[in-house]
Amino acid sequence: MKNKFKDFELVEHTADIGLKIYGKDEKDLFINAARGMFFLITGSRISLAPESIRKYYALESEAPGREDLLVTWLNDLLYIHFTDLVIFDDYIIDYISEEVIKSKVRAVEIKDSPYQIVKEIKAVTYHNLQVCQNKNGIWEANIVFDI
């Protein structure tokens, strides 16, 4: 399905790199943030052929507020990416509140995918971190990554 609006855009930062992320609701925002992060990592929008070998992870992330939750969820995905050498291509969020997100994510090992890792993201930062709903009801987030 074609998005009615941009899902994310890059924001330049002298030493690091930022993303401005959009979502029609909170779930959409979190998914687009993950897609944006793996766009930075691979330089591509990840879309895998059905026959690709897949792995599935059930993730439950907790944090003391919505902004922290976004950082924690992205850091949890980064941790799996680094330790299992996978990238993600599909995200299902079963539950989300201000403090908890329960999700199922689908991954493929990088070596079994057509993608390459072009950028190492060290971590997701709290710098200029912002999550809010604009006057049109669209959810927006600003995130800076340490690279």
């Binding site: 030493a15 924690t72 850091n75 941790y79 330790t83 050498l85 190492e120 971190l129 340490d146």
Partner: protein, 487 residues
Amino acid sequence: MTIKDNWKNILKQQDTYIWDIPKEFNPGMLVDGRVYASESLLKQIVTDKSLDQVVNVACLPGIVGYSLAMPDIHWGYGFPIGGVAATRLENGVISPGGVGFDINCGVRLIRSNLKLKDVQERMSQLVEHLYNKIPSGVGSRGIIKLNLAEAKRVLAEGSQWAVANGFGVEEDIIYTEENGKMAQANPDIISNKAIERGSTQLGTLGSGNHFLEIQVIDQIYQPEKAKQMGLEEGMITVLVHTGSRGFGHQVCTDHLSIMQKAVQRYRIVLPDRQLACAPINSPEGENYYQAMCCAANFAWANRQCITHWLREVFERVFRISQRELGLNLIYDVAHNIAKMELHQLQGAEVKLCVHRKGATRAFPPRHPDLPSKYKEIGQPVLIPGDMGRGSFVLIGNEKAMRETFGSTCHGAGRVLSRGAAIKAVRNRNIAQELRERNIIVKARSRDTLAEEMPEAYKDVSEVVNVMDQSGISSKVARMRPLGVIKG
């Protein structure tokens, strides 16, 4: 209003290279900000938000002296890169943002008995062999696989673990800051996530601005001090720049999350969440420091393992013994770290927590922490430049203790964002351009080469001259790149 819009009115020039931001500028500032820069560097510095970050750091509880900025300052997250802040132990805070994700990112310089004529014919071969031997690039994994018990020994012992396991010689430990081991490291508080990320990455260079560079010394500024260090014009040297890899990144991530809660618990008001911190004497502060020490030790072990392999490569390529090669460590310095150090404050000696984020320790002659070889001349300070221009060896001066908590600059400092650099080099071949200048570069990624092109950085000579002319740290030698391995 940001400083960028009105810097001429806000900054007060104290002398040629010192510019103050008076604490009256922002009601939250507890101390003045102080920037070391030439007027031309300052004009670059004010184009980003790094001076606003100097102001933010000046708001940290317990900060003393100044919120300091070195001439290579640029916009970071939370702290500026090129920032120094010292806090009192009794009422001050420690902030992971004042160290950065790459804990103990640092540099080491290795000398040799080789001269330019010895390596010219074999430079391509040397670069190729080093590139094949030392894992580099994004997510690079090493050949050392650590189980939990061994990983904990690395975290506790640092480069002393590496030398004890055959990756180097005893002398390497003497010439490493802290002797390659911070004793306060406590591996038992490290998360499984951090251990897992670190267990495959020991002995890897990584990506981004990390590199291994073969160089020739092309200028000596202080012959006596250079001689004492074992450096002379025409000598081949090797510079290694890397840090604590995924281990340190995960330690910082873990503790930033804890610090976010600590900020609430201790009712600390901060202008930027990335400055999250806790009182040094709180459980959160103590745990972070002990974990940070583990990551610092990991980084020293990392650089030590790389040193061992580069010595093996030189031995193989030149077919002469280690003794004849003389690949001795000059020094190893951290430039992302927090240290508990003794400093003079209002006439009294006090222990302070000195955060150096993109800043290098620069202790003067006769400082008790220096090895005997450097007691009379001061601590060697290693300043890497970009791939095309030189790097420098400086020496710490007494003035650094009086003015900058024994600190100086750490490198050239970025002026272009990575995206802007990639756009700027479209249709250019950076490797070819450098080859035409007799610099052989081998990189895993074409993007890395573009992002790290010389024009993406300030001129390191201008940065170093500010610290030299200010009397904080003095130039001893300059090295010109010959061969570079990038991630």
